[in-house]
């Protein structure tokens, strides 16, 4: 992760920096539509929101440490009422430390965001406020308890113990329909790990990569892009549920008639044209 601070958060954090160590920042108000700081993209996803009680795909966001990009996307998807879980594919949670060669390293699945927040606040409040880490961790601890490792995820194992997480509603069964990674390395790690897991559930899962640079600003933009992709996919999946009966369920011709899975490539292509700076990849894998 680069030390590129999130400008907005810097402004917010400046008052808090006085208190040593500061309490975890108050939960950020859910922002289905984050401030358009980039101003570059008027995504059609702008005002859309997944309708509750309608058929919803289940999403999973993945980055290296389950801290910045995947968590930003997790928050945005969950705030749009999409069932979401998130993971990291690294061997350990790595956060920037006092210098480039001294990263702060934590274990996955056990160290809570709160513990990390407290430790960093104690270590150097000034530094970690300035580079936005404390703000990020403060956001994360309102989303779920601790970073999780993708490779340790057992698909199909119920996640009832994650009930309090944002976006947990709908993910109780521990399966997802869509995995969105934030970096090609993670995309490869996910495909590789799914080979290792062996596809025991016989359940198809669409794996996407949206290449996002690892800094706060890009994560925010990337999160919007992922939300856009997710809503497009969800809409297509919802339409498939509407088609029923003799009027064409088994006729694959005609893209409008096509089911959800068939339409994915064209959805990605259309999405890619809307977000030309975030190169995308996609594969149909098995969990």
């Amino acid at each position: 992760m680069s030390a590129d601070p999130r400008l907005r958060s810097r402004a917010q954090q400046q008052q808090q920096a006085a208190a040593v160590p500061p309490p975890p920042p108050p939960p950020m108000e859910p922002q289905p539509q984050p401030m358009g700081m980039d101003g570059a993209n008027d995504a059609p996803a702008g005002q859309k929101d997944a309708v509750v009680d309608r058929f919803n795909l289940k999403f999973c966001t993945v980055c290296a440490s389950n801290q910045n990009r995947s968590m930003e996307a997790h928050l945005q998807l969950a705030s749009a009422n999409l069932p979401t879980i998130s993971f990291g594919t690294g061997s350990l949670v790595r956060l920037p430390g006092p210098s480039v060669d001294e990263p702060n390293v934590y274990r996955f699945n056990s160290t809570t965001y709160e513990a990390i927040h407290n430790e960093l606040a104690q270590q150097n409040t000034q530094l970690y406020t300035a580079n936005g880490l404390l703000n990020m961790l403060g956001r994360n601890l309102t989303i779920k308890r601790f970073p999780e490792r993708f490779q340790d995820w057992v698909p199909g194992k119920p996640r009832l113990d994650h009930e309090g997480d944002k976006g947990a509603h709908g993910t109780e069964a521990g399966v997802v329909d869509v995995v969105i990674t934030c970096e090609e390395r993670c995309f490869d790690a996910v495909l590789d790990d799914l080979h290792n897991k062996g596809g025991k559930l016989n359940r198809p899962v669409h794996v996407f990569n949206v290449d996002i640079r690892d800094n706060h600003q890009e994560a925010l933009v990337g999160g919007k892009a992922i939300l856009d992709l997710a809503l497009s996919l969800n809409e297509a999946a919802g339409k498939e549920r509407d088609i029923h009966g003799d009027n064409g369920w088994d006729r694959g011709s005609g893209s409008a008639r096509g089911g959800f899975d068939e339409r994915v490539p064209e959805i990605v292509a259309a999405w890619q044209e809307r977000w030309p700076n975030l190169p995308a990849l996609w594969s149909l894998a098995w969990v």
Binding site: D53, D188, N196, N202, G252, W282, L284
Partner: protein, 762 residues
């Protein structure tokens, strides 16, 4: 929500909470979602049912045996879904469920050779799915692909090495040759045929990247778990062109699909390398990956740079297309090289290897000619010299010109082209820390022209026999860790057994065998005997003698007992009042073992005595584990005991042996004024009901009386009864020898004596 859906959803969340409920919930919901349900059942319920079945039989939270039993009961429902329900969601989920169920039913039929009813149902489902695989929309076909993968998995033989066999791995190996319902050979043939169908998909039309990636992602498991077909699959993948779409118009959809297929192929192959680093195919995989990478770049760069160029030349220039035009007269495409009498094929776009640069006739057999075939340089010389002599000078001149002009054209393009290959490794580094194509190898590959770009020679030989890597020996530390883990697990199990036993109260009394069932008591007996007896007699009698090696050895052999003892102690201390019986039986075991050991030591001493070697042995009597652990236990309990805990009486009275050291702990306890009464009560009880230790009790009580002023009144009460002489003595010696005991406590003595004086006066 539909009212019955709500109920169904409640049932489902119950099962999600605990997988064991599935075996009761599945039969419960089947009447609502299954064949028995009325035809008017809404599509929502059917969808829910199909999803539920897919989820249920995939769930890792319940036992495969139970799943297999219930799988038979849902077959008819699945068949109904597949045959009659016209809904994509239902069909997809039903196929997923079928993919999970097929191996279970397969194994059931293997063991129950007469159950043709269920097998027929399963076969009907299978043929329905296989039919769909050709005609259905791709979204359904991908589910069929996964089903077919499962069929291939169970209908091909698994590894023969029994060390690696997994009892849960369902494969063709399970099927006996004479099974009435499952003819071995036709199952095998069908498996092979279906695998061919799967592989056919990746060689087919790539405009449906969904299917292609679905197949590629399902091959990993097959390669890993079925080495018998791994070679066939890899060969097929090597002959597969992930960049087929480069020929099609480069729409953004095609671009995404091409990149996705390439990336998925790459993931599959990298996974193969990672999982088996010794695979003889790995060299070829590396080569394939690299070629694919270069060509992928070329294709994408080409389209990026030359998009406005006319479509036709792009086609003609494309390397993959060119491979397929072998029959066409060479030079049909627009030629980039100067046209000489022998027409020269143009260079492919993008980065070019030296081999490509010098190869003028890519279609000819000579392009694939490998000079390394000649092992013997002499033989090579014999052939080469006449060949060189026979060369037509004119032809050679043309060829040199052709290469020269190619080279010139390339060096003109170099400013553009050069950076591309140079940045390739950098780009890789950024995203692929796990897989870096080695630069040296790249260069060698480019230069030596070992392979043609597209087709790799694949030997027909089967994979080399798999050798299990040697397990590294456990370090001392690991042994310790795993040992401790085992002990901890034993105690965890104990806690579970205890819970189960709460209802049972009957005790066998004396008329039973120790450790005859799986109950808590049995485990306690086993554990405590393990702790006490397992290493009995193993400790070195020469323990006192300094010898590094011996000491280390002795430590190692006893560590396990000590670990178990620690475990027992902790287990008791977690709830000492309830587990006092465990403590007592454990201490009894310790005492018994000590006694036995002492006995045998005595015998040994006797024997040694004869040899005139007695002195040392006698001084090293076996150390008393009982003493050590009884004291540790008491020390732990004394700290937390309350003055109301009369259960301490029971512990002290049932401990197999008491000595001064142990009773001193009671004295210690009495230093807390609140617990003085408890201490006295213990001593009183022991005096009354354990005559052998009476003297000891009186002794301790005397000490208590002397040393502890606050305990004096209570102690005096009993001393007065059991050994008034002491009191008398004390009273007499108040001024004299009584001070010997508590010189330092003069003031207290005064007042205490005063109190005693009052008592005595009463």
């Amino acid at each position: 929500m539909h009212p019955s859906l709500e109920q169904l959803e409640n049932a489902r969340s119950l099962a999600l909470g605990d997988g064991r409920y599935y075996s009761t919930i599945v039969p419960g919901v089947m009447p609502i979602i299954g064949v028995q349900a009325p035809d008017t059942t809404s599509i929502e319920v059917r969808r829910w049912g199909a999803d539920f079945l897919a989820e249920t039989f995939a769930s890792p939270t319940w036992a495969p045996e139970e799943k297999a039993r219930l799988a038979l009961t849902v077959l008819e429902t699945l068949k109904l879904y597949l045959d009659t329900v016209q809904d994509r969601g239902v069909i997809k989920s039903a196929i997923q469920a079928a993919a999970s169920i097929y191996p279970l039913v397969y194994r059931h039929i293997v063991s129950d050779r007469n159950d043709s009813h269920h097998w027929q149902l399963m076969l009907a489902i299978k043929s329905n799915i296989l039919r769909q695989m050709d005609s259905a929309p791709s979204g359904v076909r991908i589910c069929c692909v996964k089903f077919v993968q499962q069929v291939v998995l169970v209908q091909t033989p698994s590894v023969v090495d029994p060390r690696r066999s997994d009892p849960n791995d369902i494969s063709l190996n399970l099927v006996p040759r004479d099974h009435p319902l499952m003819p071995y050979t036709s199952l095998e043939a069908e498996g092979q045929g279906l695998l061919d169908r799967l592989l056919g998909i990746i060689h087919g039309d790539h405009s449906d990247a969904l299917l292609v990636t679905a197949v590629l992602n399902s091959l990993g498991t097959l390669i890993q778990r079925r080495p018998a077909v791994a070679n066939k699959i890899l060969t097929s993948v090597f002959n597969f062109n992930p960049l087929k779409l480069a020929n099609a118009p480069m729409t953004s959809k095609n671009k995404v699909m091409m990149k996705s297929i390439e990336r998925t192929t790459r993931s599959l192959l990298v996974n193969v390398i990672k999982r088996n680093p010794e695979n003889p195919n790995n060299g070829r995989i590396h080569q394939f990956l690299e070629t694919m990478h270069q060509r992928g770049r070329a294709a994408l760069d080409e389209t990026n740079r030359k998009r406005p160029a006319p479509v036709e030349p792009t086609d003609g220039l494309d390397p993959s297309k060119r491979m397929r035009l072998a029959a066409q007269p060479p030079g049909a495409g627009p030629s980039a090289a100067p046209a000489g009498p022998p027409p020269v094929a143009p260079l492919p776009p993008g980065p070019v290897s030296y081999r490509q640069l010098y190869t003028l006739n890519a279609e000819g057999n000579k392009a694939a000619f490998d000079v390394q075939m000649f092992q013997d340089p002499e033989q090579l010389l014999r052939i080469l010299v006449p060949v060189l002599q026979s060369i037509d000078e004119v032809k050679l001149g043309h060829a040199i010109n052709a290469v020269r002009s190619r080279y010139l054209a390339l060096s003109k393009a170099a400013p553009n082209a050069a950076p591309a290959p140079a940045t390739a490794p950098d780009d890789e580094d950024e995203y692929e820390p796990d897989f870096e194509p080695e630069d040296a190898e790249q260069v060698v590959n480019r230069l030596d022209g070992l392979s043609s770009t597209d087709n790799f020679p694949i030997p027909a030989a089967p994979l080399a026999p798999y050798k299990l890597p040697e397990v590294p020996p456990l370090t001392q530390q690991e042994v310790q860790v795993y040992g401790n883990l085992a002990v901890r697990q034993a105690f965890e199990m104990l806690a579970v057994a205890e819970e189960k036993e709460k209802s049972k109260t009957s005790k066998g009394g004396f008329n039973r065998l120790a450790a005859s069932d799986f109950g808590r008591d049995a485990w306690i007996t086993i554990l405590s005997r393990l702790a006490t007896r397992a290493s009995a007699g193993l400790d070195d009698p020469d323990e006192g003698i300094k010898d590094e090696f011996v000491q280390e050895h002795a430590k190692g052999s006893l560590a396990i007992s000590e670990t178990v003892r620690e475990g027992l102690l902790e287990y008791v201390m977690k709830d000492w009042k309830k587990r006092l019986d465990i403590a007592i039986s454990w201490l009894n075991e310790e005492w018994y073992n000590d006694t036995v050991m002492a006995e045998s030591a005595r015998m040994a001493a006797k024997a040694n005595n004869v040899n005139g070697n007695a002195s040392r042995v006698v001084t090293h009597a076996p150390k008393s584990n009982y003493q050590t652990w009884a004291l540790r236990l008491l020390d732990r309990i004394i700290v937390i005991v309350e003055y109301t805990d009369k259960i301490l009486l029971r512990l002290l009275s049932e401990m197999p042996a008491l000595d001064h050291e142990i009773l001193r702990r009671i004295k210690k306890m009495a230093e807390d004024p609140e617990r003085i009464d408890l201490a006295c009560m213990v001593l009183q009880y022991l005096y009354m009901f354990r005559p052998p230790v009476r003297d000891l009790v009186v002794e301790v009580l005397t000490e208590l009386w002397r040393e502890n002023d606050r305990a004096k009144p209570s102690a005096a009460k009993w001393l007065n009864r059991w050994n008034p002489a002491v009191l008398q003595e004390e009273a007499n010696g108040t001024a004299g020898n009584g001070g010997e005991v508590k010189m330092e406590n003069g003031v207290g003595k005064e007042s205490a004596n005063g109190a005693f004086g009052v008592k005595a006066a009463l």
